[in-house]
Every structure is written in structure tokens, then in C-alpha cells.
Amino acid sequence: MSDLQKLTIGKAINLGLRRAMEEDPKVLIMGEDVGKLGGVFRITDGLQKDFGEQRVLDTPLAESGIIGTAVGLAVRGFRPVCEIQFEGFIFPGFDQISSQVAKLHYRTQGKIKMPIVIRVPFGGGIGAVEHHSESPESLFAHIPGLKVVSVSNAVDAYWGIQQAIKSDDPILFFEPKKLYHSGAMKSEVDTEATPDELFKSRVVREGTTATVVAYGPSVKVALDAAAAAEDEGKSLEVIDLRTLSPLDLEPVFESVRKTGRLIALSEAPSESSLTSEIAARVQEECFYSLEAPVLRVTGFDTPYPPAKLEEHYLPDLDRVLHTVDRSLAW
């Protein structure tokens, strides 16, 4: 049986949260303005009304407090879903994330489980002021004990949030805020389907000339680039990473063995990042298959610039194609 709905990414997460809360009374939502307002992006819209103030908590304004109390609630057996208002405000909570969320399971040899989901709207392109457009996911991918995922479409959003909540491991859930309410990104979500596994990457477009690997908001850029490349007779394979830690690079290796070329795409700065990790792993696994080095298309290694300049800062279709050309010219 299938139940099809055409949903934006934002609405898909909203419905996924709702379903998770219905299925498990231990699921709580915590964050700034998540209650009456439904969050500044309305992702938790209607949930406090239906589940009450004890399950959807408008917390005091402090991120360490949000994460730190979520830890205690998890110790008590709850499954807290924390919303960080914008990725730039996750840093006051960094200590609780790296010292407690990431380590309590290891510290106690598994006696304490940390089924915490930290939802982080991330990425640029929304014309916002400072701290509202960053991509800090690599920082969390570097920390053992955390898992990190990012969704690029409504189907993964709907299922991914539920799978993340069901997971007994702590998960940073990065949501492409720019696409939350994009009508163009609406897709059919079958709420009765069996979802793909959470910690698996996925080939989202097949191709033969070169491979582009991306995640979150960049998947759309990669797909747009692939469509444009087709007009020029180039066939790009596009992989949606989906899981940033653990990385599932098998599909990437396989693709590179076929195409011989890889472009890793991300809005984040390049230094010591996820795209570095992808390049490092691929050059090791596919040493003899690579016909050109792994190239990266990323945000520049600067703080996020004033938004009037963000179109230049953010990797776009043109920069992807330019880099494909560089790869082909190697």
C-alpha cells in the first residue's frame, strides 16, 4: 500500500518529526522558538499544539543548555531532537557535543546510549546576515562518536529524520535551509514505502565522463550541472553522499573506477574538510583508476562573505563544469 504526498523538504521533515513523535512518546523536541512559533523556518509547525509543552520545549536561549539538558534527558531514556536555529549558533553547544554527546557511549562501554538528534539548518544562498549561511559539518565529521548526515530531497528528509531519531547513536542532521520551502524541490513522498538505509550513499544520476559527489544543497547544483553538461555531450555521474560520517564511499569508488574522474562538491571551506577526506580516501582506493586527481569545488577558505557576494562564494553549476573541464584536461 502506498500513500503519496507531494512535499517540500521542510514539510517532509515536519511530517517525519510528527510521525516519530506519534510512534514513540519518548521523542522530545527542544530548541529556541520551536513551540508556538514552530521554529524560525516553521519546521516544527503545529507540533507543540498537538503534543504539548512537555514534548515540544521552547527552551531558554543557550545552545550548550539545549544540548546539555538533552544529554541528561537521553540518560533518562528520552530521545531528544534538538533544533539549532542556524548552523552559526551551534558553537556554544560544541563542548557538550564533543565532550558528552560524542563520548558518553564510549566512556561507559555502551551502558549509556545517546539517541540524540541535532537538527542543523545549514548552508548559504538565502541572502542572510553573518552566521546564517555557514557549513560547519566537517567539524563534526572529524569527531569520533558522532554520526553526521545531510539530506538533499524530500524523500530522504521524511525518512531520514525518522531513521535518525530511531538510531541509538547521536546524529547531527544537516538540513539544506535554502531548499526548505522550494516548490521546485517538492517531490512525491510515499509514506508507506520502505526507505533506503540511512548510512548509505546513492547514485542519483548515472554517467560515464566524470563523477561528481555532493551532499545537502549541493546535490541540486551537481544535478543541474549534469543536465547542462549533457547538452555539451558530457555524461556526469552524480552521487548524493547522504551520510557524512560514517562516509559510505563504496559507490564513489565504484563510480570512479568507471569514470576515472572525481569532483567533490561542497559549500564549506576546503581546508581539512569532508572534501579533503573524500579526496584522500579515493586517491588511496582508486589509485590506478584515476585519470586525473580528485578535484574539489568548495566555498573559499574565507569566512562567509556578505551575502551580496555569496553567489560568487558558493559553488555553482558553472564552477562545477569548469572543474569537470579541468579534470578532463588533465
Binding site: L37, P60, V129, F300, T302, P305, P306, L309, Y313, H322
Partner: protein, 401 residues
């Protein structure tokens, strides 16, 4: 100093009783009174424009004659007019976002005008009124909201630090700055320097604000903590942050906390002058809670009808910071209609200038992305910059992909 708004029973006073908790009424009375903000509110000018005598604070404003008060009035009208203009420009797509100060003019002008040249102010992101008192051209503030820059003005020339968006961060930065004033021997007499730091009611929950209190107390920093309690942190009322009126937070740290009518420019001026004087003489820090109200949305992207009742807004309209000064001036004969008309005209001109400037603001050059990441740039950045520029050159004359 004030007595408690509510009390716990003595420890061990019979079986623990639910009565030990403040009643919702008590909480509300203390925290978010739509009345006058509780018995402990320092007020010199009532909402009706009556001057109330204050044995404690009158001396701090005895130089404020009709002329000076007219100046404060004019300040408030100008910044409100500029605020409304900017809000409108955001609606017209000229600004990416605007953070309105509507309703908080008295808190900002009163405290800002209490500062002296050598002082430093650390704003959050809503203190356009303070910026104005520090001589910052409001045009320079627009860049942040038009997203052409992250901060424009010369912080040093104006004694006005860049806006800080990450809630609470600036409180520690201000504490450090004030420590520096002290280390440099700039504290101890009437000619000394001081620092003022602005933050909201929501911010008081942040660890950084607490640590700022701890540091300033331990180092006797000449720092005035100026909390504009505008009753809301986006959609969350102050009860989500505290059981007690916020000025009482100071009690646990050993420095004075005081609640002032944040819609009373005279009281804000007096209390800020007092607090700054304390700081100059080495008796800092001091916490001021300016009890006020955010009359508009949190920002232009916010929709307050989702979380608050218009009744509340209507109640607060009766306490308007500008109207009470107008009433006082009109009644006392300090100002005639010509004055009010002139201020109105000035403010229109002020707004028009702002508008004109905004519409014609140049776009920042793309290579600005790479500028000033460091005092001394790096080879990686230089390379990225060069590649970017030559990549951009590739588009000149071409239509792109």
C-alpha cells in the same frame, strides 16, 4: 535595595510546601508586567508625561533643561523615523533584513547619551539608536542589512564596537575591553573611562553573559551591563528565561542591579549616568535592566501574530517613549508646535537621506571575498583569489554556461 518579589519559606520550615513557589501571578507581575514593571521601576517621567521626583536620581539629570530634553526628543524621533524607513526599505527589497528598534528609543538614546567620548559601547544588533548617539552615520549601519558588508563604521573613532550577532558573545568581549581600561589606569576619578554593553532578555540565559558577570565582578571592571528587556526573545517571553526580574540576577554576583523604565528617556539617562559614574570610580560593574517592549517584529522575517496578543501591544502603546516627552514639553511650555514641526521635518529629511543613500549603495567588488581574512594573507588565499579572478575574466563578454 529592593526587597524580594516573592519569598521562599525558611529552609526547614515545616513540610515542603507548594506555596514555596512563586505563583504565576507573582512571576508575571515581576517579569512581564503590562503594568508599570513592578514597584521597583525607576521612573522620572510617567507615560502621561508627568515628571516624578527622585531623591536618588534627580541630581543625575539636573543639567537637563528644556533645551536638552528637546535634544533627547529629537534624537528619539530621528532614530524612530530612520528605523521605520529602513523597515520600509526592507519591504521594498532594498535591504535583506531589518532589525527594528521600535519602542526601544528611550532605552537606547538615554543610555547612549550618558556616554562620553572615551567610553566604549558594545552593541548587539538592535542598537541603531545607540549607534546614532555615538556619532555613527546610520548609513554606515545599513551595509550589514543590505548585506554589502559585515560592519562598516570606525569602531575606534566612535567608541562603538561592531554589532555582534551570536547572542551573548559581546558581553565577554566588553568585559575584556573594560578590564583593559582598568589595566591602563583609566579608572578611578571623574575623568575616567567606562564601557557599556547591550544585550537582550533572552541573552541572559547564555553562558557567556554569566561569565561576563563573573569576570567583570572579579576584575572590578568599569562595565555597565545594559539589558534591554523588551519582553521577548523572538517568540519566547521572558518567563522562558527566568523566574525573577532580570535586574535581580546581579544579586548573586555582588554588584548592583537596577530596573529602569526603559521607555523613559530621562530615567534611562539618569540611571546610566549613575552606573557609568560608579564604574569610572572603580565601583563597577553595574547591571541595568531597561524594562521596555519590542513594538515591532523581532526582525522583518518574523511574524509576531503567531505568538503574542495584540492586547499587549496596545497596552504598551500607552507607554510610548516619545509621546511622554512630547506631552511633558508641550505642557510645560518647553516646546511649541514649531519645534515639533521642525523635528518632524528634520526626521523626514534624515530618512530621505538614508533612503537615497541606500538605493544608491554600490555593490561590493567580488574580490572583497578574499580581503582581510588575515592581517597577513596566506598563499592559499592568494591562489584562490587569483584563480577566482581569472575564472571571472573568462566570463567577460561571454554569456556563461
Amino acid at each position: 535595595m529592593p526587597s524580594e518579589h516573592w519569598t521562599h519559606p525558611e529552609p526547614g520550615d515545616g513540610p515542603a510546601a507548594v506555596a514555596a513557589q512563586p505563583t504565576p501571578e507573582q512571576v508575571i507581575a515581576g517579569l512581564r508586567a503590562t503594568s508599570e514593571g513592578g514597584a521597583e521601576l525607576t521612573q522620572l517621567l510617567t507615560p502621561e508625561g508627568e515628571r516624578v521626583a527622585s531623591p536618588q536620581f534627580d541630581r543625575y539629570v539636573d543639567d537637563i533643561d528644556a533645551e536638552a530634553l528637546k535634544g533627547l526628543y529629537r534624537d528619539m524621533v530621528l532614530v524612530r523615523r530612520a528605523d521605520r524607513e529602513a523597515n520600509a526599505m526592507q519591504r521594498q527589497g532594498q535591504l535583506g533584513i531589518w532589525v527594528p528598534l521600535l519602542g526601544q528609543e528611550a532605552a537606547q538614546i538615554g543610555s547612549g547619551r550618558a556616554l562620553r567620548k572615551g567610553d566604549m559601547a558594545f552593541p548587539s544588533y538592535r542598537e541603531h539608536g545607540v549607534a546614532y548617539t555615538r556619532g555613527v552615520d546610520l548609513k554606515e549601519v545599513l551595509g550589514i542589512f543590505r548585506c554589502t558588508d559585515h560592519s562598516g563604521w570606525d569602531y575606534q573613532a566612535h567608541g562603538f564596537h561592531p554589532y555582534t550577532i551570536v547572542i551573548g558573545n559581546q558581553v565577554l568581549n566588553a568585559a575584556g575591553y573594560a578590564m583593559g581600561q582598568k589595566f591602563e589606569g583609566k579608572v578611578g576619578d571623574d575623568d575616567s573611562e567606562a564601557t557599556i554593553c547591550y544585550f537582550g532578555d533572552g541573552a541572559t540565559s547564555q553562558g557567556d553573559v554569566h561569565e561576563g558577570f563573573v569576570w567583570a565582578a572579579v576584575y572590578d571592571a568599569p562595565l555597565v551591563f545594559f539589558c534591554q528587556n523588551n519582553q521577548w526573545a523572538i517568540s519566547e517571553p521572558t518567563e522562558r528565561q527566568s523566574r525573577l526580574p532580570l535586574y535581580q540576577r546581579a544579586r548573586g554576583y555582588g554588584f548592583p542591579g537596577i530596573r529602569v523604565d526603559g521607555n523613559d528617556v530621562l530615567a534611562c539617562l539618569a540611571v546610566s549616568r549613575w552606573a557609568l559614574e560608579e564604574c569610572r570610580h572603580g565601583n563597577g560593574p553595574v547591571l541595568i535592566e531597561a524594562f521596555t517592549y519590542r513594538m515591532d517584529a523581532h526582525t522583518t522575517t518574523d511574524d509576531p501574530t503567531r505568538y503574542r496578543l495584540s492586547d499587549e501591544l496596545e497596552e504598551w502603546k500607552l507607554k510610548d517613549p516619545i509621546e511622554r516627552v512630547r506631552a511633558y514639553l508641550a505642557r510645560g511650555g518647553g516646546a511649541d508646535q514649531a519645534f515639533f514641526d521642525q523635528v518632524q521635518a528634520d526626521s523626514d529629511a534624515f530618512a530621505a537621506e538614508l533612503r537615497e543613500y541606500c538605493f544608491n549603495m554600490p555593490e561590493p567588488p567580488p574580490e572583497r571575498i578574499f580581503s582581510n581574512v588575515y592581517a597577513e594573507s596566506t598563499p592559499l588565499l592568494d591562489k584562490q583569489r587569483e584563480e577566482f579572478l581569472s575564472y571571472m575574466d573568462g566570463f567577460v563578454g561571454a554569456e556563461g554556461h
